[in-house]
Assembly symmetry: C2
Homo-oligomer: 282 residues x 2
């Protein structure tokens, strides 16, 4: 396993692999790896001979009031896990080598990025798209794996790939959950014991929505109420947003119809902001 910190070296390795005709898959992460990330690595390994895992806590996707400084890190453990999983290259650049001091080029998206997390985190997705484009150009993958937990991010990446013509297949990886249903996230480690216990309401409320929809409920107002009732059981959490949107365009929907819908929510706990989502397909 190669551990590469220099972006120039990463790109050289990637272009050499390309010239040898090897297929490669990229798994972009911010490190502090958990089973969710490892499931993405396994998906990557099924599809490509070379798996590049990037581990980069990207400052550009954190707003000034956000948790960049408190984002958890575990470099040694991450490297062990990557080795065990058969990752070919771990790319862990320093922020100073990824962005020039006078960097001035950004990728912006003006439709899918407006609501959901984009509403509460205005610079977030431009930071995500810009760094992902950079990672794509540095690692030159044939495919890239993104977790479905970050539902809006996944759709934005697909949109960028389509609109800028990246020759890269985007492969979604299903959400991996703790035994009690909480979606795995590096940020879970920042929760207090009490917060952790209450964090289960994200999943529980979405399951209740799924159940109501299975019984025929289509009114978003009613589904909203169901979520709100569950969230009352987590007094430490404050609802950031709860959205029912078209699964592809992320446009808000009034009532569920024939099109697949995405139910997504974010809850701010004192020590971490958590997200979860559910696709409602008919």
């Amino acid at each position: 396993m190669d551990v590469v910190t220099d972006p120039v070296r990463m790109q050289e390795l990637a272009l050499e692999g390309r010239r040898r005709g090897e297929k490669s898959a990229l798994v972009p992460t911010m490190g502090f790896l958990h089973e969710g990330h490892l499931s993405l690595v396994r998906l990557a390994k099924e599809r490509a001979e070379n798996v590049v895992l990037s581990s980069f806590v990207n400052p550009a996707q954190f707003g000034p009031q956000e948790d960049l400084d408190r984002y958890p890190r575990s470099v040694e453990r991450d490297l062990e896990l990557c080795e065990q999983e058969g990752v070919s290259v771990v790319f862990m650049p320093e922020a100073g080598t990824m962005y020039a001091e006078d960097a001035s080029v950004k990728i912006e998206e003006n439709a899918l990025s407006r609501g959901l997390c984009g509403g509460s985190r205005p610079v977030h997705f431009s930071g995500v798209l810009t760094v992902v484009a950079k990672l794509f150009l540095l690692a030159q993958p044939d495919l890239a794996i993104f977790g479905e937990k970050d539902a809006q991010q996944l759709r934005l990446i697909r949109r960028m790939v389509r609109d800028l013509n990246f020759p890269i297949e985007i492969v979604p990886g299903p959400i991996v959950r703790e035994a009690d249903g909480l979606a795995m996230s590096s940020r879970n480690s920042n929760l207090s014991v009490e917060e952790r216990a209450q964090a289960i309401v994200l999943r529980r409320s979405l399951l209740a929505v799924e159940k109501a929809v299975a019984k025929g409920e289509r009114r978003v107002e009613i589904l909203r109420d169901i979520v709100t009732q569950h969230l009352a059981e987590a007094p430490l959490g404050q609802l950031d947003y709860l959205s029912f949107v078209d699964d592809e365009t992320l446009a808000p929907i009034e009532d569920l119809g024939d099109q697949p819908a995405l139910a997504a929510l974010a809850v701010q706990f004192p020590n971490a902001r958590l997200i979860d989502n559910l696709t409602l397909d008919f």
Copy 2:
């Protein structure tokens, strides 16, 4: 010579060439080829075995009041010239195949793009960067050639390549001029006979600036006056901007110093807006 209109086919061809280890150069144009473009093709041929010339009048880089509808076209002649010059692939997509109806991803630059042409053409450079990124990803070149006439564009493309990590070398091509000094431009063909005669003031005024600087003049105010005096000889032309800027950062400069400076101007004639520039190196 292949003539390709489908972006998907262009990318397939490019990726096949990559897999065969062939070196390729891209010459992006908006068609209506002249000696300036052909000089770029010749530069490309010196450096790469495959030369892709793209010919695409990109709607996204024209503002609503600009000359998209009047931009000159000459497809048959362009193809003949490309054939004569030994171009490998001419890529001429339709706008409808380059942009999805709901396209929502753009590349933005917020430093070099502010002044000069960016000042008078606010959406122009975002349109340029976005389409050039798309052309880079479709044609997958090892190098790309851009003319020095579009001085700000050249610097912006270099900045984008640096900031997004495109593995592409940007090669500048010197300005090619008519016998009387007018910089070649497809838009020259839209000038009336009278305008064409007056258009020579762009080059003449810059040559006068160069002469004054050679004699020791460093005051931008004096150099400005020299240009203004020359422009008085072209009553049909209206000065859009005249800028003395740092050659790399494009930051305005008060008086010439030790750093290379760029003198650039745009003049609006009734039938075409013309630009020219000069690097002042010490």
